[in-house]
Amino acid sequence: MITTSGLTKVYRTHRSRGREVTALDGVDLHVREGEVYGVIGQSGAGKSSLIRCVNLLERPTSGTVTVAGQDLTALAGRGPRAGRELRQARSRIGMVFQHFNLLSSRTVQDNVELPLEILGKSGKERSRKALELLDLVGLADKAKSYPAQLSGGQKQRVGIARALAGDPKVLLSDEATSALDPETTRSILQLLRDLNRQLGLTVLLITHEMDVVKSICDSAALMEKGRIVESGTVTDLLATPGSELAAALFPVGGEASGDDRTVVDVTFQGESATQPVISQLSRTYNIDISILGAAIDTVGGLQVGRMRIELPGRYEDNVVPIGFLREQGLQIDVVGHDEPTLVKEGAK
């Protein structure tokens, strides 16, 4: 649904000479239809530039952006102003913002009607559509209020209703929950998830909060210094040994209690979560296993458990028990030991 290839954005701080800042460095992104795709990264990683390049609010320096089969970069033209074709394409892409960006001079309903005014819809059609959308986001009773009278969460709901006014197939969410408290964040994310399911809306969101990815994303990408370091479906990422995203999505702590110990991260998914593997391991090899940390959580709608265990003896002494764990269909990461098989290939 959204594909970027070789997307590069270079900012020149001084017009002719001076420093150049590379915000995006050859980003290839592929968002499938109907999925919620999260791009996560720290401030300055280039997430914001990326999402702004998708609807060409920022002109990429090079590379292409294709949304719903339409090459937007080809529509962009040369000048800094957006031509008619690009503006039409943009009207089919919804966008929600961190700071909501609602017009304070308009009522909630008029805010939602704004994109419809731009599309040239009649007054009757506009108000029907706006009220329908406000109902969908649960704000039917606030139609005549002004944004200043709403709470942050309500404002974002208006923002979402407005983004949906043009019946978009794609919704871009630029840190939509970053200015909200945890409770409100959850309800907004739930709304996005519902819209994704009900309307078949493809959602591309950027965030710096791992919880956002954890609760609603089907796929995720990790951005660092303008590059996508890892990407894939959340399920695949969790099954990828050594995946930074998986570790961040689902951290387990715990330090080794001594030098001659082997620390192993065990990840359970689905079926394997029900097997009593640890006690089997202990009985079969007659070893004492200490559990350093463990957690069970739902990631991307999937039950996942992760456990950090400690085996006596160095890695060399534990090759057989670790092999046993692998045979049980578990994902095993030996902490602090780089096996050749642990190279981050699965992430590609």
Partner: protein
């Protein structure tokens, strides 16, 4: 000088001032608004970035702003004669007043429009809005409270300028004060003129502030719009709501 002597003089002077200031404000707003918006749009990073146009308008506005009004008025004499056929009287005074008011208002518009959150512009761009839509639906409505405040400032400045125009034959309250108060030592009439000016300016300032605040606070209070409480008794309940919001 008795009141019956003063009254017709004052009435005529008030009408002249009203005509001069009214027309010149109208022209200043009509001319200054697009100029001020253009200054923002053509600036570096603006929607219609154009350094040449920006520099040219900026320079014109600066020159217009930096000339003392009395000099501008004299400098424009030929132009005034070309437009109105005369350089004397309140109609002729409208020309330099309007031309002095345009750059004055344009700078105020520029400041007001610049303060509109860029996120709003971006949001409308993301909806597929063009520059004209952004100007009409975002920049002007969002800056409206400031624009009204700017208009108030412009009206008051133009009343001041109109007094200068009065001294060179423009008529109006300024003219009256100078002719009778300064040249004929009719101190009574001068003080009445001063009082009228003070009251008029206070009223304009009050009305402008009221309108700007009413727009600005829109939605910030839960009740209906602000009420003019001078006319009715105190309404402590509404006042409380206003403060809380």
């Amino acid at each position: 000088m008795t009141w019956s002597e003063m009254q017709p003089l004052l009435e005529q002077a008030c009408t002249e001032t009203l005509v001069m200031v009214g027309w010149s404000t109208l022209i200043a707003v009509v001319g200054g608004l697009p100029l001020g918006i253009l200054l923002v749009l053509t600036d570096k990073g603006g929607l219609l970035q154009n350094t040449v146009v920006n520099k040219v308008i900026g320079q014109i506005v600066n020159i217009g702003r930096s000339l003392p009004f009395i000099i501008l008025m004299v400098a424009l004499m030929n132009f005034t004669r070309w437009v109105t056929g005369t350089t004397i009287g309140s109609e002729a005074a409208i020309v330099p007043l309007a031309i002095g008011g345009i750059p004055f208002f344009a700078r105020l518009v520029e400041t007001a429009v610049r303060e509109v959150d860029h996120g709003l512009v971006e949001a409308v761009q993301a909806m597929g809005g063009n520059t004209w839509t952004i100007v009409r639906k975002v920049l002007v409505p969002e800056a409206l409270p400031s624009l009204i405040a700017s208009t108030t400032t412009t009206v008051i400045a133009l009343i001041g300028y109109s007094a200068m125009a009065g001294t060179v034959g423009g008529g109006g309250l300024g003219d009256l004060a100078v002719r009778y108060g300064y040249q004929r030592f009719e101190t009574g009439l001068m003080w009445i003129t001063v009082a009228i000016l003070a009251v008029v300016i206070s009223l304009i300032q009050f009305a402008g502030d009221f309108a700007a605040r009413a727009l600005h606070r829109r939605g910030a209070r839960s009740g209906p719009g602000p009420k003019l409480r001078l006319l009715k008794g105190e309404e402590p309940a509404t006042a409380e709501v206003g403060k809380a919001a």
